[in-house]
């Protein structure tokens, strides 16, 4: 974890916390997809579907939207990010490595005994993690607390929380939604990775969320519906969120397993690692995809 930051920059990593161009982000997203799948393959367990659907969201946060310093996880001025859908954390680990927070060779230790890259995020073992998650439904409440604390802080920062769509079924999410509106947490932005699929099947069949935008709006939130794979649309939605005094939610329409044909739009790849051949096929699909 100690390799110097400059070495990472030389190795072609992007600088997190600055605004990358859309083209840079696009190629970065391809690499994040490949990294996430390689990690899950090496660990022989994990969650490809929800890791792939949130790639553009995570890339936009770390490489365009958030204030963030690689090498300084406790920098008081950093924007806070809670990945409430903790099972999607491989994408975050891949982004942190690309940002130069630790060496990319660490990625293959995902889920191994003693690794800082736990199966679900662990803030004690990996200080870049803002809060432990993995039990769905809790991250937005913690984010509310982070956003409230900002008001007592001399630093000025925003708080971001990434939720799964299935996760939004949890009652606690709506308790946090109410609290955010009550306290007018304009510096809080939630993103729902609305990939329409959860663990056992389609969200609409398991416990439909519709009309999701209207629900958030009626709870006093600023609602932005966005294509969650469109980097420009994400960038402009995040910018609009900054301008509003209410808490904002990006309802990011995504595809579970995005980028790998056989993983797309199915629950079969929610929590299953690709084998050698599947990994190869997936990587070649990702690499050959047109922008």
């Amino acid at each position: 974890m100690s390799t110097s930051l400059t070495a990472h920059r030389r190795a072609g990593n992007l600088a997190a916390g600055t605004m990358a161009s859309i083209d840079e982000l696009k190629s970065l997203c391809r690499e994040l997809r490949v990294d996430a799948l390689k990690m899950i393959h090496a660990a022989a367990s994990g969650h490809p579907g929800g890791s792939l659907s949130s790639v553009e969201i995570v890339a936009s946060l770390y490489f365009s939207e958030m204030k963030f310093r690689a090498g300084e996880p406790a920098w008081p001025g950093r924007d806070r990010f809670v990945i409430s859908k903790g099972h999607g954390v491989p994408t975050v680990y891949a982004a942190l490595a690309r940002a130069g927070c630790f060496d990319r060779s660490e990625l293959s230790s995902l889920r191994r005994l003693g690794s800082p890259l736990q199966g679900h995020p662990d803030r004690i073992r990996l200080p870049y993690i803002e809060a432990a998650t993995g039990s769905l439904g809790q991250g937005l409440s913690v984010s509310v607390g982070l956003a409230l604390a900002e008001r007592f802080d001399s630093e000025d920062y925003r708080t971001y929380c990434l939720l799964g769509d299935g996760e939004v079924q949890a009652g606690q999410v709506w308790e946090a939604v109410m609290a955010s509106a009550k306290y007018r947490l304009g510096k809080l932005t939630a993103i729902v990775d609305y990939n329409k699929v959860q663990l056992d099947g389609f969200v609409a069949a398991i416990m439909d969320l519709q009309p999701l935008g209207e629900k958030f709006a009626s709870f006093g939130w600023h609602v932005l519906e966005v294509d969650g794979h469109d980097l420009e649309a994400l960038r402009s939605a995040f910018a609009q969120a900054r301008e509003d005094e209410r808490p904002s939610v990006l309802i990011a329409h995504t595809v579970k397993g995005k980028g790998v044909s056989f993983m797309e739009d199915t629950y079969a790849w929610h929590g299953k690692a690709p084998n050698e051949q599947e990994l190869e096929r997936a990587i070649s699909e990702i690499r050959s995809a047109a922008d």
Binding site: A43, A44, S45, G46, G86, R111, R112, L113, G114, S115, Q118, G119, H120, D122, A132, T133, G134, S135, L136, G137, G166, E167, Q169, A170, G171, Q198, L199, D200, A205, I206, M207
Partner: protein, 308 residues
Amino acid sequence: MGKASRAAFGEALLRIGATHERVVALDADLASSVQTRKFAEAYPERFFQLGIAEGNMIGVAAGLALSGMVPFAASFACFIIGRFEQIRMSVGYNNANVRLVGTHSGIGIGEDGYSQMGLEDLALMRSLPNMVVIQPADAVEAEKATEFLADYVGPAYLRLTRQSLEDLNDDDYEFEFGKGVMLREGADLALVATGGVVHNCLLAAEALSQEGLRVAVVNIHTLKPIDDELLRGLAAESPIMTVEDHGVVGGLGSAVVESLSEIKGARVRVHGVRSYGESGSGKELYAKHGLDAVGIASQARDFLNNDS
């Protein structure tokens, strides 16, 4: 290697569906993992998918039970006890006839890490006065325990594993609620265990016997009500070491110590998980936390040598 206890539960529940018309199953987006999917496919009208909302699932189960249905509500053990307040009020205090099923118990689940590991479930469930608590040690026992619970009346908790377990019992094994099972006799030490680690205790006992130690092994499938009589008999004969894939506070070890608290001269060592869980293979984690045969044997030696 035999089946996981969750798999045996799923098969038993499917069979019970045919004979018990009031049995219903509730799920919170984990039917494939907790193995209620087969029941769901066979009896769609008696299966309720509540989404990722375990608190609601448990409340709904209580309501169904209060109106005469026989609900099995299943999720990972950690998410079941994550809704403990609903369990104590809606299920426990109402004496609602709900069977809560917690799978993926213990560090044995491996790579997913602490957030998915049930390590405090026995402690919390045991704390409710009317809650019975059962943890089978293999697939056959899981099947029989599930059958028992289909006819049992009152709040109950069934603790199951994600990982496959070695078979201990034959198909004609009879599950006796509330009774410990003496698997091996021995006067120097009694290993009193629950769940998948019972098998590791048998291996440890065998290894210790090579060193001249006579070690008994007891399977406690019913943690509550616990078999006081058996435990008191054992305590009179030899020191006892409890073994469980659960935190050392509140689980089997505590139950045994409580049972023997007024027994003169009883000596007990409680062996289990002493930290938050973490990622790693189940095998590596059992080695690290001393729950494989080698670890259990070395704890036992340490206990016997520490004759204070």
